[in-house]
Amino acid sequence: MALKLSRSDDALLTGKHGPAAQRAMSIVTRMAEVHGASDLMDITGAHIDSTIYIGEAGLEFAERLASLGAQVAVPTTLNVSGLDEHHWQEWAVPADWAHKAHRQMIAYQSMGCLPTWTCAPYQTEMRPSFGQQIAWGESNAIVFANSVLGARTERYPDLLDICCAITGRVPAVGLHLTENRAGEILMRLVDVPPALQKDDSFYPVLGHLVGKIAQDRIPVIDGLAAQPSEDQLKALGAAASSSGAVALFHLVGVTPEAPTLEAAFQHRAPKREIDVTLDDLRQARRELTTAGGEQLHMVVLGSPHFSLAEFKRLAPLLIGKRAHPDVRFLVTSSRAMALLARQYGYLQALEVFGGRVTVDTCILASPMLPPEVKLLMTNSAKYAYYIPGLLGARVTFGSLEDCVRSAVAGRVVRDESLWEM
């Protein structure tokens, strides 16, 4: 099936709109050919994950596009960068590294993207609506947009995301098309106590397990008794897109394309059916921890970036307490959320507790932690998944309450009661 280009696609590809758009269109069409697409289609928004500074090649790519005059054709948000633009000096970020990461920020901003600097663009005013065709990078954002909002994006890799934003076009394949959004694997919760289902820490653990089982298939989760909050769904998706390649999940009775089990599968039969037991979940929870109950150097929250609702939930847990002097307590969020949290009065308790907020980035995307930080605790499955490989450190997964208690105690303290029923 040959790729058919529209007249305006052709104009982009032949350089009539300048060399940057030509280069971007060349990459988009080559990817369309890889997928055997017959057409390109319009998008109405993009989210750029390529902002994370990794090294010279990514910077060269961004600066070359910028110097060729690249401009995005659709409203485009930016993912986390490599540094907290205004506070990186307070951390262990090497100056040379910061300089390059900052050049990469400037390059993407110069293309007309909005400086949102967040991995949770769905928490901004640029949140897409149901059915909207978008090109999003950042695995957790992709799965949230598709699953929770019912917007439509493929799993866009870094570097392709910006090419789609510049051209406003994507290969018409995959999750952009209704027929490819049907569930494939049925995962049935069989003996998970309702009290656990209401707990925040259930969702990242379930997500970790869902990602491992589903891998690159679309899972349909049935049998949930609770009505999860948006932050709980965010945690589920972020976990599933770390342990697996999940870009879309359906939660029967909760997510917009799954009002019923039949609808989630688009009236087709599941390819596989699996019962998920409390035992499976306990095992998944164990896998998220690589450290024991020893000393703790840091508690980190906010992957994906903390929402206003999460700041609100955290604040009362901190009142009247102080973090242990040997434990750093950090929340990572976007500059917009942090500003709102301050205005709402949620940051005072955090500051009195001895905690801090970092914006624009996170501990995985910025070399901000001093080398002595080797034992971390988090309520995020995404942090727990990536900390060992990216930071060479050990990690313990716990609930938000566990994290606060442990920060006060200076060592890992976990309440196991919900998991032992």
Binding site: I54, E60, I142, R155, G211, S241, G389
Partner: protein, 146 residues
Amino acid sequence: MGNVIRGRVIIRGRAKGEVLVSREPLSFWGGYDYRTGEIIDRRHPLSGHIASGRVLAVPFARGSSTTTAVLLEAVRAGTAPAAILTTSADSFFALASIVADEMYAKPIPLLALEPGDFARLRTGARVRIHEDGTIVEEETSTANET
């Protein structure tokens, strides 16, 4: 692994090297150190192996979208795998290879194998990959069946 496997060409190219295979998908972000070519996902069966210059075979890229950016850095640093074999047309690896071609004229050959063929791969086999997608095991000191 048998002598010849035919893969579907996703990104055309020639390569040779020692196979490094796992049935477990891999994220390059948090999974591949482009400075050394080491696989650093401590939960992955290939953790600690050096994939630089080898024919890396994983079913697909899981996890982070940043996999492509890390792979592009590896190409620039000279620590990328010699070729990548998957079970389906993986968009993350394909995009990294296309951009490596556009920027450095160094595409990474990328082939998609049938699951049955993928299962025949074994770590340590020395293979030569041809532009038409054939993967040929090279003679080793141990006698091959004829």
